[in-house]
């Protein structure tokens, strides 16, 4: 692949790097695009879910007989309709899942483990009847004490969520069960020795609250299982193939029996990578032999999908007076929710990853509590751990009187750095983003009263994974692309652009679609910032294969050998010969019938070599000392994209990620009452940033190419949510001369700190 990379990076690009209209743009601005809840089928039933009102309770019995008698009720499912599984871990993007837990999260079995945990589901001829049926289901619970915070959950004697949970990763293994699912540790060197060499050591504890991805489209699906057991599933998801595999396992289907079609997806950010309603709708449809549609309402999205962890973290960093970091150490305790699987592994791996350190250690604990099971959220685990580290870095900069960007530059990870999680890093853009930040006019702009500037950097790995896509050359010279990763933010455009660049035909002649699970080999999720990298790689590879075939056909028509033909700007061209001879793609396509039949190619591979993406953000805040209100005055996000295929959508990722991070930093948090009930289950109380809360988000795209992608692409989607948390906290700390160590920086919390220190 390296050769091809060379040619691509050196050749002048015509399409890649420009800003064409996205192929699905018109559908999305006219209301034509069909999202998860937008499809119906004849004879369709409505499915609704009965949810636990208790944070922790034994389920003694469930009596559905009265509900079954209600006219219009066509099917009811409980845990007895789902197979049980032994404990088995399977990787799912940047997370790991366990089928034993997945089946219990989809439908509670022995116990309900959080308010909102699914206990039963009903399909009926109308929503009203379904709701009435829910009220008629008689569940007998034995309410148990619950626990919501990691510091309570890890104490001996805490209520146990799973009485067989023995902490993994501790030698020797503990003898008794606890709520600590696992311990992880990364790092190298000798941190104690490093601290002994330091002139200054800063050590601090931080708290972050549970937050939700906050996608505007609630989960929704439509399942139809026919009498012969063939299933069709339409749903909003980041990964139709992953949904197929989860559902077939949970329900005992084989993969060929379920065809999953991904709807347009109204935001996911990691939250639409697992299953909630889909297996319920399939089970209800199988029982009733009718299509079943299910939608979550907004409150259900908050209580019963997969937000990310709240956490307690401890960070200690030692430096020389010249800014050289001598050691970094941290302990991260993340809420997993009701089942193990907090993103503490990636959190620990990336905590110190922006830096080139000799002595580093990151320890993480995955702790279960009576909250919904966490799912991935944009750079899962990263914003939390890096918030702690980047806050301490800023505090050090102030204490030793050094510019915070200079301090980072002095310690920046670069090509050849051994990352704290093991590997030697390839080319990465930490230094480049820092230098871009330093020379940006924002960094030296004057500040007003009660204003201050914060900076922070962020590192994220990005992933590759199993990917499959195909290309078809149509008889009239147009081109079809079939992709297996749902388009969540303009990826159809990037894919068509790369194919257009390779083929030399205008992008308007290329039609990309998202295929269903029957049309391609397995595709992993749109997630882990992998779509443009992985699907892009397969698109380029399959397009190049199609070009080879086109050249072959031209050689046949010209009756020359293949090595006499080259491909140039949408045409086959005869290399030798007296007269220049060319044949357009359309001319070759028209004659495909007589040169061997239709022309198509596909590429299926396990894509490796994802390039980490680094970002540095600059933020100016103003703190109202009377109310504690923090306003974002100016914001600049700088990130290494490797190569921006469609810069507008790269900027969009950076802007959207920054604003999600602003929400995390300033407002968003799950608020529970003493009964373990979530009190803010709507957008009014769980306040994500609105348009008037934020300024324009300036962006600078830095391009340090990833050598493992034909155009140099890294992922871009996740990194931008990492820096805002610390950048804002650092700015608020600088504005007030107090060190803030808790998120969100909501007015009451800021005011309390201003008043009481």
């Amino acid at each position: 692949m390296n050769d091809m990379t060379q040619t691509n990076l050196e050749r002048a690009l015509k399409i890649v790097g420009s800003r064409p209209a996205r192929p699905d743009g018109v559908d999305k601005v006219t209301g034509r695009a069909l999202f998860g809840a937008d499809k119906s089928l004849p004879n369709m039933l409505v499915g609704r879910v009965l949810r636990s009102p208790y944070a922790h309770a034994k389920i003694i019995s469930i009596d559905t007989s009265k509900a079954e008698e209600l006219k219009g009720v066509k099917a009811i499912v409980t845990s007895t309709d789902f197979e049980d599984f032994p404990s088995e871990f399977v990787p799912n993007g940047e997370m790991v899942v366990n089928m034993k837990d997945i089946t219990r999260n989809v439908m509670a079995r022995e116990k309900a483990l959080y308010v909102g945990h699914t206990v039963a589901a009903v399909a009926a001829t109308s929503e009203d009847i379904a709701e009435q049926a829910l009220a008629l289901i008689d569940v007998t619970y034995e309410v148990l004490p619950h626990v919501l915070e990691v510091e309570d959950a890890e104490k001996p004697g805490a209520p146990l969520l799973h009485d067989d949970m023995i902490t993994i990763g501790i030698e020797p293994a503990p003898e008794s069960a606890s709520n600590v699912a696992k311990r992880v540790e990364f790092g190298f060197g000798d941190v104690e020795k490093g601290f002994s060499e330091a002139d200054l050591i800063i050590e601090r504890e931080f708290t972050t609250q549970q937050v939700h991805q906050g996608y505007i489209e609630p989960h929704a699906c439509l399942a139809s299982v026919s009498e012969d057991g063939q299933a069709e599933l339409w749903c909003t998801t980041q990964g139709p193939f992953v949904v197929r595999n989860f559902c077939s396992k949970l329900l005992g289907f084989n993969a060929a029996q379920i065809r999953v079609t991904a709807s347009e997806i109204g935001g996911g950010f990691g939250g639409k990578t697992v299953v909630y309603l889909e297996p319920l709708a399939l089970a209800l449809s199988r029982k009733s032999c009718r299509p079943v549609k299910m939608e979550m309402n907004r409150a259900e999205v908050f209580t019963s999908s997969g937000p990310t962890s709240g956490a307690k973290i401890w960070v200690k960093i030692g430096v020389k007076n010249n800014g050289q970091i001598t050691a970094g150490d941290c302990v991260l305790k993340y809420q997993a929710g009701a089942f193990q699987g907090a993103p503490v592994g990636p959190g620990a791996m990336c905590a110190f990853a922006p830096y080139d350190l000799k002595n580093v250690r990151a320890v993480g604990y995955d702790i279960v509590v009576n909250r919904p099971k966490v799912a991935a959220y944009r750079a899962p685990g990263g914003p939390i751990s890096e918030y702690g580290v980047e806050s301490v870095i800023d505090e050090i900069a102030i204490k030793i009187g050094m510019d915070p960007i200079d301090l980072r530059l002095k310690n920046a990870a670069k090509e050849g750095t051994i990352a704290p999680y093991g590997p030697k890093l390839g080319p990465i853009g930490m230094i480049e983003t820092l230098e871009a930040a330093k020379s940006h006019p924002h960094y030296s702009a004057p500040l007003g009263p009660n204003q201050a500037r914060g900076v922070a950097s962020g590192f994220w790995f990005n992933i590759g994974g199993e990917t499959s896509s195909s290309i078809t050359i149509n008889e009239d010279g147009t081109v079809g692309l079939t992709l297996g990763t749902p388009d969540i933010g303009g990826s159809r455009a990037s894919m068509a652009m790369m194919a257009s660049e390779e083929l030399g035909v205008p992008m308007e002649l290329i039609k990309p679609i998202i295929g269903d699970t029957n049309s391609l080999g397995f595709n992993f999720l749109t997630g882990g910032s992998r779509a443009t990298f992985s699907t892009g790689t397969t698109v380029v590879e399959s397009t190049r294969e199609a070009i080879e075939e086109l050249k072959k056909r031209a050689a046949l028509l010209w009756e020359v050998s293949l090595d006499q033909v080259e491909w140039f700007e949408g045409h086959a061209r005869l290399i030798s010969g007296d007269e220049p001879k060319t044949m357009s793609l359309a001319q070759i396509a028209k004659q495909a019938g007589k040169t061997g039949g239709p022309i198509m190619a596909n590429c299926s591979m396990n894509v490796t070599g994802a390039g980490p993406s680094l970002g540095t953000h600059i933020v100016d805040v103003e703190v109202d000392e009377e109310t504690g209100q923090v306003s974002i005055i100016r914001y600049t996000a700088i990130q290494d994209a490797g190569k921006a295929i469609h810069p507008a959508y790269v900027e969009g990722q950076m802007q959207g990620g920054a604003v999600q991070g602003i929400g995390w930093a300033l407002n968003e948090e799950y608020i529970y009452n003493e009964k373990g009930e979530l009190e803010n289950t709507g957008f009014l109380d769980y306040r994500i940033p609105v348009c008037s809360d934020v300024p324009m988000i300036d962006t600078v795209i830095v391009e340090v190419p990833n050598p493992n992608h034909p155009y140099g692409v890294r992922g871009v989607g996740e990194t931008p949510i990492i820096p805002p948390l610390a950048a804002i906290s650092n700015a608020v700390s600088r504005a007030t001369n107090k060190r803030f160590d808790e998120l969100p920086l909501s007015p009451p919390k800021v005011l309390a700190k201003l008043m009481h220190g």
């Binding site: 999305k28 006219t30 209301g31 505007i216 109204g266 907004r298 507008a648 990722q653 009014l684 008037s692």
Partner: protein
């Protein structure tokens, strides 16, 4: 429960439907009339994905009852384009990549059009406050605000 007969105008066409008195206008649009362009993000008036015009007033269709549409003029995202030509806002949103997932887009477009009908020369701040009821979780609002300001500027120059 007997249903109520409602006669209304939607995007210039007359419509009649029967609905339960507790059914929202959003529910009627989406489920009775199959106009799926208006989206439901919350059903409580907090996200603006269901924004429509009712007698030239911007409303959340999830907060209006279907029966209230009787005799009124409703405009939804499906009515923004005329024939094969897009509204300038629609075109500008595509050109400037002012949408990512697109779920908020119908509501944002309806709301932005309502603003530009009232105010030909909105400041950035006016755009931001007008659109404060339309949540977008993907874009960070930057490109949305730019698109609205550019359309306003272009309309003033023609």
């Amino acid at each position: 429960m007997s249903k109520t007969h409602v006669a209304t105008h939607i995007n210039g066409d007359s419509y009649e439907f029967l609905c339960n008195t507790q059914q929202t206008l959003l529910d009627v649009l989406r489920h009775e009339l199959d106009l799926k362009g208006s989206k439901e993000g919350c059903a409580t008036g907090d996200c603006g994905a269901c924004s429509v015009m009712m007698d030239d007033r911007l409303v959340c269709a999830c907060l209006v009852l279907g029966v209230e549409a009787d005799g009124k003029k409703i405009e939804t995202v499906e009515g923004l384009s005329t024939g094969s030509s897009l509204d300038p806002l629609q075109q500008k949103f595509i050109d400037l990549a002012a949408l990512q997932c697109g779920i908020c887009t119908p509501g944002v477009l309806v709301a932005a059009k309502a603003l530009l009908e009232k105010n030909k020369n909105p400041s950035e701040e006016e755009v931001r406050f007008w659109l404060a009821g339309n949540l977008c979780r993907c874009t960070g609002y930057d490109k949305i605000v730019r698109a609205v300001l550019e359309v306003a500027a272009e309309a003033r120059n023609t």
